[in-house]
Amino acid sequence: MNAMLENGIVVTVAGVLREYLMLLFGNQFLTDLIMKFIGLGALIGVILTAAIVFTYAERKVCALIQVRLGPNRVGGRFGLLQPFADMLKLMSKEDIIPAGCDRVVWALSPMLLFVPSALAYAFFPFDKGAVFADVNVGIFLLIAISSQAVLPFLMGGYASNSKYAMIGGMRTVAQMLSYEAPMVFSLLGIVMLTGSLKMSDIVAVQADNVWFVLLQPVAFVIFVITATAETNRTPFDLVEGESEIVAGAFSEYSGMRWALFFLAEYANLLAVSILTTTFFLGGWSGPVLPGVVWFGLKAVFMVFVFMWLRWTFPRTRIDQMLSLSWKVLLPLALVNVMCTGIGIYIYRLL
């Protein structure tokens, strides 16, 4: 039990599993290899579970805010089987390929979109010592990888051979590129405070001192706003604004291909919630409860916040959205970086 509190549940469980595998195979390398694959499987499991749970949660949160009941027929009073009914519906749908589309690019787009979303999970510190890839350029590589999600959107928009999809693709590029700049600069303050780009170091510093949301409140607000825009959720869902451009880049997709877009969207939602948790809310650190539970609670709370934002605010116009990014958030983020620098300097003098 003591070891469990010392190392965190995830590491302890992994250690026990490793011992059993070692006993079974008696070879260090093979055990390490299998443990890597188990880690991969666990990450994929987290993503898929999140997608299933969030489709249900999104409806229930939406219903809560709009004073409705939400799903209440499939699977008992609370509609618990709704996601599975959705899944069956999606799988049995006809796969419609639009005429005159660029077949290969069109088919690749939803698959490629999922890759950066899933790759990002390799860098998340779920618990003390439970990071799949704790590289020393953690944050930077994470940003670099998640920036690759723009092109698949554009590919889908272009290849669908449809005006609405094309406009949606173009909007995605404008939106994601302009919100990436303030997002990166808002994270710079945290990197300066930590003195490291490593994800585990960022959490460790917060566990030893205070949560960064207290030291970097401006950066926290900027990050939450930009994260909403990066995940294309209301009030920044111009990319898929139903009343204007049908469903944007994925207007022409149906069935499982469309479901892949949805999977990527919910993987991104959980990803930005985990990022907010890791950067600002102290990650796995917290009293009494084990780390991974704290981590889960905080991440789920952030998911709720993002859903809350989505169902509370109306959609912005594209020009409002872009000028908010370049004229308000970016200067604010830069000022925040400068103030952080001065603050650190003064703190060192004291």
Binding site: G26, D102, V105, N136, F140, I143, A144, Q148, V150, Y158
Partner: protein
């Protein structure tokens, strides 16, 4: 039960030892390297050979990302991230978007191969470049980074912000000038 376990152990360990003896680790490492290099080179080849210019642009992105993966694989993780962000993220999107905006009716034949003369000229230029790069790669004395430098970020940051701070700032000013120039070009001198 114990007999079975020891049998499994001996089988696994024997197999592993044999694999190591046959040079499997080197083989796997080389295999991954050549697979990544193959992605980069083949998609670069596709850029030239594709008939559809949009496909060429997308393959160019694949080539960029392949090179980025090579950087990561050779432990230059900072370089890899920069490659992803700048080339895979920004440059690729700029190229693809520019091409898509100048969309033609017949996209399928938008990347025509030119006459033999053009091809010969391109071959000479590309061959000369390849030769120069190969010579540079073969003649430069590569050495392992000393451990005192720390990881790739710390070492790079120390050099860039102390010894080479002047070139670093000059490059920053150059980028700023280019950015202001682009804004003036796009908006017109009066409005900007």
């Amino acid at each position: 039960m114990n007999d079975l376990l020891s049998l499994v152990h001996s089988l696994v360990n024997g197999g592993m030892d044999m694999a190591v003896e046959m040079g499997a680790p080197d083989l796997i490492q080389a295999g991954i390297f050549y697979a990544l290099a193959g992605v980069a080179v083949l998609s670069a080849l596709g850029v030239v050979l594709c008939r559809n210019v949009v496909h060429s642009a997308l393959l160019l992105t694949a080539s960029f990302i392949g090179v980025g993966c090579l950087y990561l694989y050779t432990a230059a993780d900072f370089m890899g991230a920069v490659q992803f962000l700048v080339y895979g993220g920004a440059v690729a999107i700029l190229i693809v978007m520019a091409i898509m905006l100048t969309r033609r009716e017949d996209m399928a034949h938008s990347n025509p191969s030119r006459s033999l003369l053009h091809q010969a000229g391109a071959a000479i230029v590309a061959g000369g470049f390849l030769l120069t790069m190969a010579l540079a790669a073969l003649l430069s004395p590569f050495q392992e980074a000393p451990a005192a430098l720390g990881d790739s970020v710390t070492g790079l940051a120390d050099l860039m912000l102390t010894k080479y701070v002047l070139p670093f700032e000059v490059a920053a000013i150059l980028l700023l000038v280019a950015m202001i120039g682009a804004i003036i070009l796009a908006k017109g001198a009066d409005e900007a």
